[in-house]
């Protein structure tokens, strides 16, 4: 029976949501292709995770060792290349995360497997695999085909499939040996938590979030004033942090924080996937001058216009409405 592997991702004692997203997608592919869905779990003392994963996979393949405590691409690659050679799964899914981005390309290179990264969907018809991914900052989708191979590797973008922990299966847990590592060049030293400033954007009810469109640090008062008129917290997209206009603690998105306010006001934010993946708001409102900006595909309401014009007006209107 052919197998589909899903590489479980965990960090600092928690399974990451991407694991369930991949298992849910993997279950769909497995049932259609009549394959076995296998969760692959690498770590140290993995019993409880293995138990959890057994509810979402036909089998859980566990490799345990102290050296697998924290992710290390070299050690992981060494284990995975052995597992892939031994079990020959037709498809292996890895998250397109900091972990998967580090691991998947060199694993594919070592194994000589076709790889497509950052896919938003994947389809397996018989042994024919196709993937869908985005290009040009999400403005275009691409259908990717793979040269015929015995095994394929795909990294899946976060947030594309349901993340609910499945409880449909009762997979068996199987342990595999930890193979001696050929190299020990790369060393994990420690985790660093971004300094949390005075604000905690994850707890905010209303976020005024600012992007690259603000143009310069000198324009920040514009959004600060709007935020203060709303009693909202200020957050931002990655380019704002890259340019040091706001500290890292304000960043929303995959490499920043996931936020869940009632109202999320995206100002001058184009809406790159990495940003919107971190927005779980009840209502998203976008102000952007580019009518084709991807943010309008996730927003509930939008104004197509110049933020320098709209934001001060909006502040006045909010103030007026408050007083009334």
């Amino acid at each position: 029976m052919s197998q589909i592997f899903v590489l479980a991702e965990h960090r600092k004692g928690s399974l990451r949501e991407i694991t369930w997203e991949m298992l849910n997608k993997g279950a769909e592919l497995a049932s259609r292709s009549g394959s076995e869905l296998v969760a692959v779990l690498l770590g140290n003392r993995m019993d409880s995770f293995a138990g959890e994963l057994a509810h979402g996979a036909d089998r859980v393949l566990v490799v345990e060792d102290e050296q697998l405590e924290n992710y290390n691409s070299e050690i992981y690659q060494n284990v995975l290349s052995r597992l892939l050679s031994e079990y020959e799964p037709v498809l292996t899914l890895i998250g397109h995360t900091a972990f998967g981005m580090d691991l998947a390309p060199s694993l594919a290179a070592e194994m000589g497997m076709p790889l497509s990264t950052d896919c938003i969907d994947v389809d397996l018809e018989g042994d024919k695999l196709t993937a869908t991914r985005q290009m040009y900052g999400g403005k275009v989708n691409a259908e990717v085909s793979f040269a015929p191979a015995k095994q394929y590797l795909v990294t899946l973008r976060s947030g594309m499939f349901p993340a609910e922990a499945a409880a449909t299966k009762d997979g068996k847990i199987e342990k595999s040996d930890f193979p001696p590592s050929a190299t020990d060049r790369k060393k994990f030293i420690e985790y660093l938590e971004a300094a949390i400033g005075a604000v905690d954007i994850t707890q905010a009810d209303v976020l005024v979030s600012v992007g690259q469109g603000i143009g310069d640090i000198k324009n920040m008062p514009l959004v600060e004033e709007l935020a203060s008129s709303l009693g909202a917290t200020l957050s931002c997209s990655r380019p704002v942090v890259d340019r040091k206009w706001l500290p890292k603690g304000h960043q929303v998105g995959t490499s920043g924080k996931t936020v869940k306010p009632k109202v999320y006001l995206a100002i001058g934010i184009s809406g790159a996937f990495q940003h919107v993946a971190g927005v779980k708001a009840s209502t998203i409102i976008a102000i952007n001058k580019d009518p084709k900006a991807p943010i309008f595909r996730v927003a509930d309401y939008g104004i197509v216009g110049d933020l320098f014009q709209v934001v001060p007006l909006l502040k006045d209107k909010v103030t007026a409405l408050k007083g009334s």
Partner: protein
């Protein structure tokens, strides 16, 4: 400290319309403005900063037709010492792994302590070339790097993880790092830089120079292929508030209030 930086010339599509070409596999270059990939700009700057600190050389490598020399001249202008352009009509249609294979042939015999690439390119966003190249070279690598410190023949780097978390890893040199935006503040191109760049020679190498055959590269040497480009299906569309800025912001203020934004 000898550093190789892999750079790519890409169209800036952040505010431009992207039009899919008739072949449905590429986009129309049309009015798009091409420049160095944003991530690569940071990679070049990081390499130049390390060179300025420790001495050595920075070599920029790109792959593509004549126009990509613009990107290499930009690298010269912002501090690179050497530049290599890998070009051959046979390279057309190469996937990320095939591109890494081509670059590997070009850099394997160079003397280097570090190879940088951008974490990804803003056009196709595969993020593969760096780690695949490391794998071919047999060197360690780290992706999504936001800080590089060098000591005792080792690099201690910060990798950006999710949720505001980073990890610190240590690898011996030589190594390949994919550089994330925000790691530094890339300098502007100066007029002195342009002048310097104009006096520099760009080396070129083609298929045969690199010891490759047509089977190794292009669509034949690739395991993945973009079959079709299409516009993302509209699953949801924002309600665009029409009217003058004054009218629109009046309505928006009411919506924010109704949705619980303030009372």
């Amino acid at each position: 400290m000898d550093i190789v930086v892999c750079v790519k010339r890409v169209p800036d599509t952040s505010e431009a319309d992207v039009i899919i070409a008739k072949d449905e596999r590429t986009v129309e270059a049309g009015d798009l403005v091409f420049d160095i990939n944003e991530w690569d700009k940071y990679a070049v700057e990081e390499a130049v900063l390390l060179k300025e600190k420790y001495g050595g050389t920075v070599t920029a490598v790109t792959l593509g037709p004549d126009e990509t020399e613009d990107t290499l001249r930009r690298c010269f202008a912002t501090g690179a010492d050497k530049a290599i352009r890998l070009t051959d009509s046979a390279f057309e249609g190469s996937d990320a792994a095939a591109i890494a294979k081509i670059i590997h042939q070009a850099v394997k015999d160079l003397k280097f302590d570090l190879i940088f690439t951008g974490t990804q390119a803003s056009d196709d966003g595969y993020g593969q070339v760096g780690p695949v190249l490391a794998s071919l070279l047999g060197t360690p690598h780290a992706s999504v790097v936001t800080q590089v410190d060098i000591a005792d023949g080792k690099a201690r780097v910060q990798r950006e993880l999710e949720g505001g978390l980073s990890e610190v890893v240590e690898v011996p040199l030589p190594a390949v790092f994919t550089i994330q935006t925000g790691i530094n503040e890339p300098r502007y191109v100066s007029i002195m830089g342009v002048r310097k760049a104009a006096g520099k020679e760009i080396e070129t190498a083609g298929l045969a120079d690199l010891g490759l055959t047509a089977e190794d590269v292009g669509e034949k040497g690739s395991m993945t292929k973009v079959e079709r480009l299409f516009l993302p299906p509209v699953t949801k569309e924002a309600e665009i508030i029409q009217g003058s800025p004054d009218e629109a912001s009046t309505r928006l203020a009411q919506i924010i209030k109704d949705k619980g934004g303030f009372s």
